[in-house]
Symmetry: C2
Subunit: 182 residues, 2 copies
């Protein structure tokens, strides 16, 4: 447990001032956007982590449930596809599924038609926990954005998707790893 007491994180502006002090050719406006994005994301993950912990699971497990639900109708996927979707190795997926089967969140069976394949499905309990996590997440997200008008939300979403498009075409390979399935 990281002891967060003391040594307060510098404010965004303090930090940007420090960057400018040590690295002259830095555009403070760019840095402000990038640093705010990074910090915001960190805080969001902390919030999600607390919520999933309340349901007795981890963010990692939540992401598997998300992938299965979002996959749609049969709500089943192979470990390999899940691994690609979450950006981790098949080995990690094997272990993660082991744990989740033990906890009753998902099922694992062999495909009858092709006995090499394995199929992971979501259980009733898994779906219920996903739903509850979604409820908590949307409450948090609405609070997060409460200071922005409808018009502002629209503009913010539009700008972010523009940035996303730009970086996605610069990184065509999905570049998995560091997951954080959204």
């Amino acid at each position: 447990m990281a002891d967060t007491s003391g040594a307060p994180e510098p404010s965004l502006d303090e930090q940007i001032a420090a960057y400018q002090r040590e690295f002259q050719d830095l555009d403070p406006q760019v840095e402000k956007v990038v640093s705010a994005l990074s910090r915001l994301n960190r805080r969001m993950n902390v919030a999600y982590g607390r919520q999933t912990a309340e349901l007795g699971m981890s963010n990692a497990e939540w992401e598997v449930l998300k992938a299965l639900v979002l996959a749609g109708d049969p709500y089943r996927m192979g470990p390999g596809d899940l691994a690609k979707r979450l950006g981790l190795t098949p080995a990690a997926m094997t272990h993660r599924i082991d744990r989740m089967v033990a906890e009753g969140l998902v099922t694992r069976e062999r495909d009858e038609n092709n006995r090499v394949r394995v199929i992971v499905g979501i259980t009733e309990e898994g779906r219920a926990k996903w739903l509850e996590a979604m409820r908590m997440a949307t409450v948090f997200e609405e609070e997060l954005l409460q200071d922005l008008s409808g018009e502002e939300r629209h503009r913010l979403g539009e700008m972010l998707t523009r940035l996303l498009r730009r970086v996605e075409e610069a990184q065509p390979d999905a570049g998995g790893r560091l997951s954080d399935l959204d």
Copy 2:
């Protein structure tokens, strides 16, 4: 045999449609902002990871160097403070410093005045690598924002800091964990 390889990540809009299909009371505008933020951050970390790898280090090591440089003049900190700043446990910090000392990026010495304390400092090589990483990072960040006008950058930064302020007051405890020092 549908070549399922790739299992391409669904586009943002596809994913939001999936969310709406499975969870009716969801505000698509909110979800768009949140998901774009999350994806953007993931892509940024991938980009930084490639750059630091080019310099023969990891993002984790880069973050230690950042903390030391941003700390200012003597460019030294104790492992405990570093750990707080990066949001990890003192134990993890001990190991990380071990590796970085072995790689010649930082130094570790005992404080003369108080022999319980340890002081971590940055080496010439460490500073040089930090500088080179900063150069690469700023090039990437400028490319990322190239589609936004100065006015748009300003508005984006302002909105993000507003969100950040909101979440920071909801999570007064710095909430370390999941570091990603910005």
